[in-house]
């Protein structure tokens, strides 16, 4: 039975994907505008449908909104690539929207088959997006790594799901929950099935020790696609993980909660240490997004007892806005100054005061530091359920990682605000810069305004994500 109320919004986005591809095919001349317009309209309609009276509620709504708004922002910021002949606009928008439709299905899935299909719909287009830039060996390598990891992780998850099916004879989340309770299967075997199923999703989130694909893939991908992977793709996986751990496997929390705690601790620590040694903005953001995944995972140890799911989604929403602002600005830096190394960032605020301010605020939010109060509130939101669930050691690890994170966010910010820096010549290869750059800048400024507004009134973002 198809619940059209839930399937409607993803379907609108999927139709938008096809329209974008068709427009590109029929218009003939290479045009960025039409596919982009089709995609924007589709996302807007999907957003309206979500907010309408028959949309999903609770966490499903929060996650779907993160996905729709995140994709919209990626779509706007992707305009900075409109001068690259090796980037086909129709295909890019098609893949972007198709993948977003997958993510939206994933967070409202109620059975394992839908989950797997949605996972594939999310993954396959994003793999293609990573490798989309023609004649780029880095992109091909990134896509290849991503492909292998994706296939393996899906296969592992499938294996777990088939075990679960074997124990319960059902694939619906609610039935599995009730039947696992009174199944006669040996406890250890069920725990193994739970762990295997979850491992596949952890791959997708990029949790340690399954994180190695992220730096390679992000570096190979174009910057907006990396932004997409770090936010929308992650939101889908987080939603699926919250659902799967909370509903069908809710009875086995004693088994998976310690595992999630260890994985979260490792993920944030390894991610932060990796970020410390990077000399390139994309590298920093790639590793820092691993660390942030650890912070998103941590409250899940308290899914049942203390509103852990809510905290994870609240943190994810705040992280999504800040990370997209940062990636958009990095994309602009690359377009205007031809690179993303620290040398290109030095003195950025002098060359582009508004952009420098936006990027600095985004970094402060990610670090969780005032004046970006919202980042600090996000850290509080995820720490609280961890402490409440009695994971004191995990809270300590998180505290150490807050400090570690600041150790690279702040020097990067100091570089941006520095008065020094080599004179960097503007490389503006495109003949018509203002329009595309303006679109991307507008989306970045809107994102920053959202950060400012939520810093003054954190309830603006915390309350809808409950």
């Amino acid at each position: 039975m198809i619940d059209w109320d839930l399937a409607g919004a993803p379907l609108v986005v999927a139709i938008g994907a096809v329209v974008a591809l068709m427009l590109d095919a029929f218009i003939g001349a290479r045009s960025w505008r039409w596919p982009s317009l089709a995609g924007g309209v589709a996302l807007g309609l999907a957003g309206l449908e979500l907010l309408g009276p028959r949309g999903p509620d609770g966490l499903g709504l929060g996650l779907s909104l993160v996905i729709v708004l995140g994709t919209l922002m990626v779509l706007l910021s992707a305009a900075v690539m409109d001068h690259e002949d090796s980037m086909p606009p129709g295909e890019l928008h098609f893949l972007l929207l198709a993948s977003a439709a997958g993510a939206m299905c994933m967070v409202v899935a109620r059975d394992f088959v839908t989950l797997i299909v949605a996972l594939e719909l999310l993954s396959l287009p994003s793999i293609a997006m990573v490798g989309l830039r023609r004649a780029d060996i880095g992109a091909a390598r990134g896509a290849w790594t991503f492909f292998l990891v994706s296939v393996v992780s899906t296969a592992v998850t499938l294996m777990g799901i088939s075990l679960v099916y074997g124990f319960t004879g059902s694939l619906g989340f609610a039935e599995v929950l009730s039947r696992l309770g009174d199944s006669t299967a040996p406890d250890r075997a069920v725990v193994a099935a739970v762990v295997i199923t979850v491992v596949g999703l952890l791959f997708k989130i990029g949790a340690v020790p399954f994180h190695m694909w992220i730096p390679d893939t992000y570096r190979g991908a174009s910057i907006p696609v990396a932004a997409y992977l770090s936010v929308v793709s992650k939101a889908g996986a987080v939603g699926a993980l919250v659902l799967v751990l909370g509903v069908p496997f809710g009875g086995y929390a004693a088994a998976w909660a310690p595992m999630i705690a260890v994985v979260a601790a490792l993920t944030m620590t390894v991610g932060n240490i990796g970020a410390l040694v990077q000399r390139d903005a994309v590298g920093v953001l790639a590793w820092s997004s691993i660390a942030q995944a650890g912070f998103i995972l941590a409250p899940m140890v308290a899914l049942g007892v203390a509103g852990g799911a809510r905290a994870a989604v609240q943190y994810l929403a705040i992280y999504a806005v800040a990370n997209l602002v940062a990636f958009t600005m990095i994309g602009l830096v690359r377009r205007r100054w031809g690179g993303t190394t620290f040398r290109h960032l030095t003195g950025l605020a002098r060359r582009d005061p508004l952009g420098g301010a936006c990027l600095s605020l985004a970094l402060l939010t990610l670090a969780g530091f005032p004046p970006a109060v919202i980042g600090l509130v996000a850290k509080y939101a995820v720490l609280r359920p961890v402490v409440e669930a009695g994971y004191g050691w995990l809270a300590l690890v998180m505290a150490v990682n807050v400090a570690l994170g600041l150790a690279y966010y702040l020097p990067m910010m100091a570089r941006i605000l520095s008065q020094e820096g080599d004179e960097i010549t503007v490389v503006e290869p495109s003949p018509s810069p203002p329009h595309a750059v303006g679109v991307a800048r507008t989306s970045m400024v809107l994102g920053t305004l959202a950060l400012v507004a939520t810093s003054a009134y954190p309830d603006l973002i915390l309350v809808p994500m409950r």
Binding site: Q314, L364, F369, P370, P371, V373, L376, V377, K379, Y380, A381, L383, R384, V387, E388, G392, A395, L396, M398, A399, V400, V402, A403, L406, A407, L410, P411, A414, L417, Q419, E420, Y457, P458, D459, L462, V463, R466
Partner: protein, 515 residues
């Protein structure tokens, strides 16, 4: 609108305006604006205090802010925080004043490769950072909600990191970066731990409001509040600092520019000691009582350690920095007795230390600017002969620092020792009196290093230097700052009742009298 809120936010607001219009501003203009706004802030604080009514907190605001996690926008000052807010506004007015005709310290003769940015811009930026730090510190001292307290606590860090990292010791680029980063990592780690502790306390008590937590009955007991209190204590001990968590301090204080050193010693350390009173002892008395003996012991070890370290320093700024660790030891000892006398001692000693050490750092900074270094080898001997007024003023501050009766430093240390003598409600008599004895040795050692320092620096056969001439052409602000600080140190020394009278009525509420 509430006057207290204006007093807290006005400096930061003016700072932001100055930042936005920095290209149109000259450094001296920005610095004058900084002095003016700090004085306005000071007057507003005094007005809030003068118009207080019978309520526990003057100028209290309490409005809903973040409903989702129960945070309220809750500010107010009482007798514990009012003296510290006044001192903060006073010191930042003085630091801004010192920037008016202070030659920008950014020229880097040692490193020609480093481009030297526009000095006017540099002064404007420095004033902006000082003002933001001032707002953050005033916010910490007046916050009555744990999360609001935490936000202000963190807000002060990043500007201070910039102050040390960019305006620090112009002759040691790498050193100041290392010092700034170490300062940041230590304090952030501490404050992150403190946040975990706040969560543990708030979950156990079901509130984030400091007055509610302080008045709750029955008091919190059990493992979770105890662990929370440990986390808070460690976090604040980094900031205060309590030995052995002080290791970030000497480098940061000596690498920072004059304004940075003054604010670090005068204001930043007080955030830690004030926190110990307000968000440890007051809100978790039972767990604090368990921790008190350890805190007191570490504090006294710190007093001895710091005075011994001071005897071995060859750099004036490092010496003053280490002496801060010792003075903070007396403050923490007072807090750890958890008695009215001890808390009053802590507040008194905090204010006195802010004024005295601030004055020492102003003079050390002045010397360093003229001679390019603050090591005794470069400064030479016989400053009495070479720069009479500066030497006298410096010697005055140094003697105030050793706790001469009749000056501000005396009362804080005396009251702190008395609180140990009276033992208080939580310490064991044997331990308290042992600590008292050791701390008394610390007092002797403190006198020793101050005398040695004076002997090395201001007395002896003058070693003339061709830069001595500069010393006679004193900077106007230096004289003015010195006069104001001397006056306030003498007043607080001769009339301790002025300050004790303010502190005393608020002591019962902090120590659970409301229960």
């Amino acid at each position: 609108m509430n006057l207290l809120v204006i007093a807290v936010f006005l400096p930061a607001l003016v700072g932001v305006v100055a930042l936005a219009s920095r290209h149109a501003l000259r450094g001296a203009v920005a610095a004058r604006a900084g002095v003016a706004v700090s004085i306005v802030s000071l007057v507003l604080l005094a007005a809030v205090w003068a118009t207080r009514d019978a309520a526990a907190f003057a100028g209290e605001v309490d409005v809903r802010w973040i409903d989702a996690i129960g945070v309220r926008w809750h500010l107010g000052i009482d007798g514990i925080s009012f003296p510290l807010t006044l001192m903060t506004a006073f010191l930042s007015a003085l630091t801004c004043w010192s920037l008016i005709d202070d030659a920008p310290q950014e020229q880097t003769p040692d490193d020609p490769a480093e481009p030297s940015p526009d000095p006017e811009q540099s002064v404007v930026m420095l004033v902006v950072l000082v003002l933001v730090i001032q707002s953050a510190a005033l916010g910490v001292f007046s916050a009555l909600d744990l999360i609001v307290f935490f936000i202000f606590f963190e807000l002060a860090l990043v500007p201070m990191w910039f102050v040390i990292n960019r305006w620090g010791d112009p002759h040691d680029r790498e050193g100041r970066r290392v010092a700034a980063t170490r300062f940041l990592l230590f304090t952030v780690l501490g404050s992150a731990l403190m946040l975990v502790g706040f969560i543990a306390i708030a979950l156990s008590a079901g509130s984030l409001q400091i007055p509610e937590l302080a008045a709750q009955s029955p008091v919190l007991t059990g493992t979770v509040p105890l662990l929370g209190a440990v986390a808070i204590a460690v976090g604040l001990a980094v900031k205060a600092p309590v030995w052995p968590l002080h290791i970030w301090l000497p480098d940061a204080h000596s690498a920072a520019p004059t304004v940075g050193s003054v604010l670090l010693a005068g204001v930043f350390l007080k955030l830690g000691t004030y926190g110990l009173i307000r968000v440890l002892v007051a809100i978790a008395p039972e767990p604090s009582a368990t921790l008190a003996p350890y805190l007191a012991t570490f504090a006294v070890v710190g007093i001895i350690y710091a005075s011994l370290a001071c005897l071995r320093q060859s750099d004036l700024k490092r010496l003053i920095a280490y002496s801060s660790v010792g003075h903070m030891g007396f403050v923490v000892l007072g807090v750890a007795t958890m008695s009215p006398v001890g808390i009053a001692a802590a507040v008194y000693a905090s204010v006195a230390h802010g004024l005295i050490t601030g004055m020492l750092f102003f003079h050390a900074g002045g010397l360093k600017r003229r001679y390019g270094s603050a090591t005794f080898a470069v400064l030479g001997r016989g400053l009495y002969a070479r720069a009479p007024w500066l030497a006298v003023s410096f010697a005055f501050a140094a003697i105030a620092s050793l706790g001469l009766p009749g000056l501000a430093g005396f009362w804080g240390e005396m009251l702190s020792l008395r609180s140990a003598y009276e033992v208080g409600p939580v310490l064991d008599r044997g331990l308290a009196w042992t600590l008292l004895g050791v701390a008394a040795v610390g007092v002797v050692l403190t006198s020793a290093y101050v005398v040695v320092m004076l002997r090395r620096l201001v007395q002896g056969v003058p070693t003339p230097d061709d830069r001595d001439l500069d010393l006679t052409g004193e900077v106007r602000s230096e004289v003015g700052i010195s006069v104001l600080l001397v006056a306030s140190i003498v007043v607080l020394g001769l009339a301790p009742g002025l300050l004790v009278g303010v502190i005393e009525p608020s002591l019962p509420a902090v120590l659970g009298g409301g229960r």
